[in-house]
């Protein structure tokens, strides 16, 4: 089936099998390997991307479901060489260790801050509650998100 998906403002037209998962379309067909393929069961959140304006788990969507829609991946966070404040905060607060969960964490964090610019720590923890950091680096991930929200003394 022929689909056209707008990924990070670029239109991509490809012929895919209907059973192809969105995460594999992004990584294998488009070469956008920033989004990580993790648990495959919609538990870990390493594969979180935005479909239109909403974070979703791309291991549990078919690529054909994104036909005619916009997808934003971690590659779309920065503007040219200017990192997004979420990316800068993750760097500043050591919000990643092995980095596997990081793209999903940052995509959810950006969405949270777009919708709730001044979240409480509890709201940050709730927002990322469907995402697993197997390094257990949650403290610094939460600090990173709070720092990106402009909270002084939140870490670093």
């Amino acid at each position: 089936m022929k689909i056209t998906v707008t990924v990070n403002t670029t239109d991509y037209t490809r012929v895919v099998e209907p059973r192809l998962l969105l995460i594999h379309f992004l990584r294998d067909d488009l070469g956008l390997t920033g989004s990580h393929w993790g648990c495959d069961t919609s538990n870990c959140g390493a594969c979180v991307v935005w479909l239109d304006d909403t974070p979703v788990k791309s291991c549990t969507l078919l690529a054909v479901m994104a036909d005619g829609r916009r997808v934003t991946t971690v590659e779309g966070l920065a503007s040219g060489r200017q990192l997004d404040p979420v990316q800068e905060a993750f760097a500043a607060c050591h919000g990643l260790q092995c980095g596997f969960c990081t793209p999903g964490m940052m995509m959810t964090a950006r969405w949270l801050l777009d919708n709730n610019p001044d979240p409480t720590e509890a709201e940050v923890r709730e927002a990322i509650s469907g995402q697993v950091c197997r390094c257990t680096g949650y403290e610094n991930i939460v600090r990173s998100v709070l720092r990106a929200a402009g909270r002084d003394g939140a870490g670093a």
């Binding site: 919609s42 479901m65 709730e126 509650s129």
Partner: protein, 291 residues
Amino acid sequence: MQVPAQVEYEKATSVTQALSLLARYAPGARILAGGHSLIPMMKLRLAQPEVLIDINPIQALRYIEPVAGELRIGALARHADLLADELAGQHFAILHDAERVIADPVVRNWGTIGGSLCQADPSEDLSAAFAALKGSMIIAGPDGSREVPARAFHTGPYETVVGPAEMLTEIRLPIRPGSGSAYVKVARRAGDWPIGAAGAAVWLEGDRIADVGIGLTAVGAEHFVAAEAEEFLRGQPAASDAFARAGQIAAQHCHPAPDQRGPVSYKRHLVGELTARVLRTAVGRARGLAP
């Protein structure tokens, strides 16, 4: 690597089109909504449809609105939509209680209300909530639409009355005065399926319980309902003795299965305790005393 088997794919942009695709491909077709139950089952070959009919483009099925004394929820409303809907929370606190503990925020962004109900997983939370609220489902088919009580919607685990050429389009909940409701779930960890859960809706007349609905999740309650406990409570004073007794009755009449989440005795204990708790909270809310 988990990948679904080969499948054909059709996109529907209206209910009429979805029904005509169903008529063409049934019984080998499955409706694809959020897909957050169906796609994992396809990966595991627990489901292997020949054709998927994607209804996500049917924007007209994504709504939550009050009409004629009812709250009407389109089958394609997302879990996040229901959790964010103020009117739903105001009239049916049980729905917000339940939505807060369904999966996680990212899954709730895409998973749908109709999909959850049609999946009919015995551990799914909304089936018990809608049963407690005594709602109804609208099912569209080749010969028009029919309305089915929530309590007659499920015919068994993973089975509903929706026929192979039909689709669920709407859930209706009666808005009645003097009511309160609540839902509590016990799970092993955040976002997990419940070990057990209970929901209650009460309608008070003075200090007495005029009507009550009790829904149970994951404990083998027929149609997700604690019918004997409801029968006992009707007409009783809305007081803690009655709530505790109703919990005991609910625990006695459900049929939990022992599994890695716990033995039967523990699950019965949960049913008794959670039933009493949700009744207490629901009555408190009906009286305007509890948030």
